[in-house]
C-alpha cells in the first residue's frame, strides 16, 4: 500500500512542480497559451494544493491516533493535523475563486485560517522538540543547541529586514501591507523551531525516522519560501512570477504529505 502510494505521489508531485516552473520560465510557450491557459493552471494548482494539504492533515491525524494515549508526541501530531486542516480551509476559500476564473482577493476569509495555522504548527514543532529531547537519545550538548538557536534567530532577523523592506515601503493598502508583512514574519518565526528540529532529526539520518522527518521539514521550509516569495512579489507588483509561488506551495504541501505518509507507515503495522 505504501509503495503504491509512493509510486503515485512522488512522480505526480515532481510533474506538477515542474509544470509550474516551466510555466514561469516560458509563459508564452504555445502549450501555456492554448491548452494549459493561465486560468486552467491556476485551477489545477488550487486542486492539487487542496488535495495535498488534505492528505497531509489526514495522515498526520491518523499518525497521532495510532499512537498510545500516553505517547508524548500524540498531542503534537494532533496540533500538526489541526494546523494543516486550517491550511485546507484557507485553500478551500481561495479555491472558490480560483476554480471559477476569478482573481483571489487578498486579504480574504482564507487568511483567517492561514494565520490560525501558524500557532498550531509552531506549537506542534516545539512539542516534537521537547518530546524527542526527553526520549533518551543523545541529541548533542546544550551549548550546541543554544548556538544553533542564536544563529537561526540572527539569520531570520536579517532575512526579515530584507523581505519586509519592500513590503513596508510598498503602496499597498494597509490591510494588504499588514498581512503581507505578517506572513513572512510568522514564517521566519516558524523557521526557528524548524531549524532546531531539522538538526535534531538529522541525527537519525539513514533510518526511516530521519527520512520521514527530513521530507516533512523540507516541506515546511518550502512553505516558508512560498510565503516569502508571495509577499515579496506582491509588494513589487510582479504577478508574472506567480507560477514559481504555485510551484513552491505545491512542492511544500507535497513534501509535507509524503513525509506524513512515511510517519504513518512507521506507526501502522
Amino acid at each position: 500500500m505504501n509503495r503504491a502510494i509512493d509510486r503515485v505521489l512522488w512522480p505526480a508531485l515532481w510533474a506538477a512542480t515542474l509544470l509550474f516552473v516551466a510555466w514561469g520560465m516560458a509563459p508564452r510557450a504555445t502549450v501555456f497559451t492554448t491548452v494549459l491557459s493561465s486560468g486552467r493552471l491556476i485551477a489545477v494548482a488550487s486542486l492539487v494544493k487542496l488535495a495535498l494539504l488534505a492528505l497531509g492533515a489526514a495522515w498526520s491525524w491518523r499518525s497521532g491516533r495510532l499512537l498510545d494515549a500516553d505517547n508524548p508526541v500524540r498531542p503534537a501530531w494532533t496540533l500538526l493535523a489541526a494546523g494543516l486542516a486550517c491550511n485546507v480551509l484557507g485553500q478551500a476559500v481561495l479555491a472558490r475563486y480560483q476554480l471559477t476564473g476569478q482573481e483571489s482577493p487578498f486579504p480574504s476569509a482564507g487568511d483567517v485560517f492561514y494565520v490560525l495555522a501558524y500557532p498550531l504548527v509552531g506549537a506542534a514543532l516545539v512539542w516534537f522538540l521537547r518530546a524527542y529531547n526527553e526520549a533518551g537519545y543523545p541529541m548533542g550538548s546544550r551549548a550546541e543547541r543554544v548556538t544553533l538557536l542564536v544563529v537561526t534567530v540572527v539569520v531570520c532577523a536579517s532575512l526579515a529586514f530584507l523581505v519586509l523592506r519592500p513590503v513596508v515601503l510598498s503602496d499597498l493598502p494597509l490591510a494588504q501591507k499588514a498581512l503581507g508583512a505578517a506572513y513572512p514574519l510568522l514564517d521566519l518565526a516558524l523557521l526557528v523551531p524548524l531549524a532546531i528540529l531539522l538538526r535534531m532529526t538529522s541525527r537519525f539520518r539513514g533510518g526511516s525516522v530521519g527520512a520521514a522527518w527530513m521530507i516533512v521539514l523540507s516541506g515546511f521550509v518550502f512553505m516558508c519560501a512560498g510565503d516569502v516569495l508571495f509577499a515579496y512579489f506582491t509588494a513589487l507588483g510582479q504577478t508574472g512570477l506567480d507560477p514559481f509561488v504555485h510551484a513552491a506551495y505545491i512542492l511544500a504541501y507535497g513534501l509535507i504529505a509524503a513525509g506524513m505518509r512515511r510517519h504513518l507507515a512507521l506507526v501502522a503495522s
Binding site: 526520549a135 533518551g136 543523545p138 541525527r203 533510518g207 525516522v209 530521519g210 512507521l266 506507526v267
Partner: protein, 81 residues
Amino acid sequence: MVTAEAVREIVAAITPFIGENMARSATRVHCEKLGIAEPEVTPQQVAMLISRLESGLRVFMGRDKATSLMGPLRVKLGGGS
C-alpha cells in the same frame, strides 16, 4: 554473552529505523548508564538495555510496534520474553 556481539545485534535491529549513527550512539549511551562493559554482559543487563532502547523507539512508532520489533531480539539474546 559477549558484549560486542549483543551490541552488534541490537544496533542492527534498530538501524533501519533510527539510522546507524543514532543506533550506535544511543546504544553506547545506554550501555554506559547501565554499566555494561566489555567483555561480557549479563542477561539482565541485555534486558535492561533492550527495554531502554524500546522506550526510545515508542515515541516514533508506538508501544506495540516497538515491542514487536524488540521481542525477537529479547528471545535471541536471552533478555527475557
